[in-house]
Each structure stands twice: as structure tokens, then as C-alpha cells.
Symmetry: C2
Subunit: 146 residues, 2 copies
DNA sequence: GACCCTGTAATTTTTAAATTTACATCATTA
DNA sequence: TAATGATGTAAATTTAAAAATTACAGGGTC
């Protein structure tokens, strides 16, 4: 199981909102066009980000803006907002090991030991990248692109 | 997208082979029973591990044993053997961002910057856990279980 | 040569992810 | 104050990925 494309779409939306949120009314339709997705998927993602306080959405009239300094929005926070237990879902565990086998009976606990360490390391790594970094990459790449 | 259950099944098999590989003939049928999977899935995993030199399999007559010291078998190596580009598949990227939008046009490269850092950190974390550690956890948990 | 195993391709089934449809709710404005 | 154009969500459908099954061609050993 992997972290789905939702994280990528979320980052896409956040860059877009940072770049255009103040000047134009950024709706789920516009974001869906830009990301090549569909408005409902976008609204679900946006909704999760809003509940976490990352962005604010004008209900009724529409439009989205950032609600938080760039350096407080880490990739970890984005993933967590979208899929609260994404860390524990990083590795899948086969669901029906034999309880009659010593290995089968204990495998889940054994794997949990290692997977928890890995999950902690991954979390640290994700906390280390902020939207500020991502947007700096974006500006650099965009300049090269011209 | 997440790393599939194959890694967990592989570790399950490796513990089983370590524990019983010398005394008994460990076949794909036995491993499938223990893991609650099926023999073909097991054979595919076992086959990948064999090609990487982690285990050796007696063709024809059957039976599997470790071909490597425990501390040389890292979780990274196991994952890599099973799914060579698992690191780059950690995050999915939405496939059709709009090339007409500045964000859409550059999003893939922007995400690649961050995802590469994260992939490197994850790789380091996985390299840090060996089968020796896992089996030590297994013995500890098994003792508690009695 | 019979038996039991592995290796692998091809198909089917299952499961998860993403999209679409539908509609209730809310703010603006004409 | 009713029309408009947004969001928020639930439910159903579609699509794509993962896993299991079926099938069979090898290879050792008794």
C-alpha cells in the first residue's frame, strides 16, 4: 500500500492557492482543471486541509486562501490531514497468518516493531520538508523553464 | 500507493526459513499455510529473494535455506529484491496535470525534488534494520508469549 | 517412471482508488 | 427575495491495482 496521489494533488493545490489565492477566486473547478482531476476529489482534499487549519475556504461564495505561514505547513502535516493513519498504512501486513504456527502467531507484533521505527523515521523526514521549501523549488524550476 | 504486503510476507518467510530451514524441508506449500497466502504468491516472492542471493532454493527436490548472514539482510534489500523501484513508487503523482497551467506544467519536477529526499531518508531507515534485528524481536516476543 | 517440488505465464477474482452523480447548504447580488 | 454559483458529503459507478487461482513445463530423487 502506498501513500496515494492525494498528497501530490494536495501539494499541487497548495502551490496554486499560494500563487493565485489572493488575486483570483480559486474554486474546486479551477483546481480540478489544473490538477487534471475532478472537483469532488479536490473538494474532499481541500476539506481535509481546511479542517486542519492549513487553508480557509469561503463557503457559499467560494475561494480558497492559505490560513497558515508557509513554514508551518510540512509535508507530514499535509499527509496527516488527508489520511490520519497513513504512517501505519505504509506497509501492508498479510491478514491471515496461521495462528497454529509460531511464526504466524507472532508475525504481526514482530513486524509492528520494525514498522514503527520506520514510521517514525519517515515522519521525521516528512516533517523536515515545508511548503516553503516546495514553493522555493517551484520558483526555481519555473525560472529554468522560461 | 504503499509498499504492498509482499514485504511482510517476505519477512515472514525469512523468519520461518531461519527457524526451520535446516531441520525441515521448507516448501512453498508450507510457507503458504503459515502465511495464510497461496503457494504461487510465495514462490514469486521466494524467487525474487533467491535472485538477490538472500536465500537458496533446491530446485526439483524443494526446500529453502538462507544464503547470507542475518546482518547482511536489511529490510531495504528485501524490499528492493521484491520491487526494485519501490522507493520511487512511495508517493503517487496525479498523471494528467494541465500543461497550460504554470503549476501543472512543473508539478512533477517540483514533487520529484521533495520525494527524492524522502525516498533517500526512507532508504536509510530501511537499511538500518536487519533480519538479525527482526529475529531478535521475534525471539523476544515469542518468549513473552509462553 | 512416479512423485513431489520449483518457475512462470495467463486468467480470474478481489480489493482499493478515483470518478461521477446527486443534492442539501450557504453567501452574494440583481 | 429569488437566482446564481459556490462548498460539503453521501452513494453509486467506474477504473486500476493487487492477489489468488489455474495450468503446465521444467528438475531431482526414490
Amino acid at each position: 500500500m502506498h501513500i496515494s496521489t492525494k498528497c501530490s494533488v494536495a501539494i499541487h493545490c497548495l502551490i496554486f492557492i499560494y500563487e493565485y489565492g489572493d488575486k483570483k477566486k480559486v474554486t474546486s473547478d479551477i483546481l480540478a482543471l489544473s490538477a487534471g482531476s475532478n472537483p469532488v476529489t479536490i473538494r474532499n482534499i481541500i476539506s481535509s486541509l481546511r479542517k486542519d487549519g492549513i487553508i480557509s475556504v469561503k463557503f457559499g461564495t467560494g475561494g480558497t486562501t492559505l490560513a497558515c505561514p508557509l513554514n508551518e505547513i510540512t509535508v507530514y502535516r499535509i499527509c496527516k490531514a488527508i489520511e490520519p493513519d497513513f504512517v501505519s498504512k505504509l506497509f501492508g501486513i498479510h491478514p491471515l497468518p496461521s495462528p497454529l504456527c509460531p511464526v504466524g502467531k507472532n508475525i504481526r507484533n514482530v513486524l509492528d516493531c520494525s514498522y514503527q521505527k520506520i514510521g517514525n523515521d519517515l515522519s521525521d523526514s516528512l516533517k523536515n520538508i515545508t511548503l516553503e521549501d516546495v514553493i522555493s523549488d517551484y520558483h526555481y524550476i519555473q525560472r529554468k523553464d522560461d
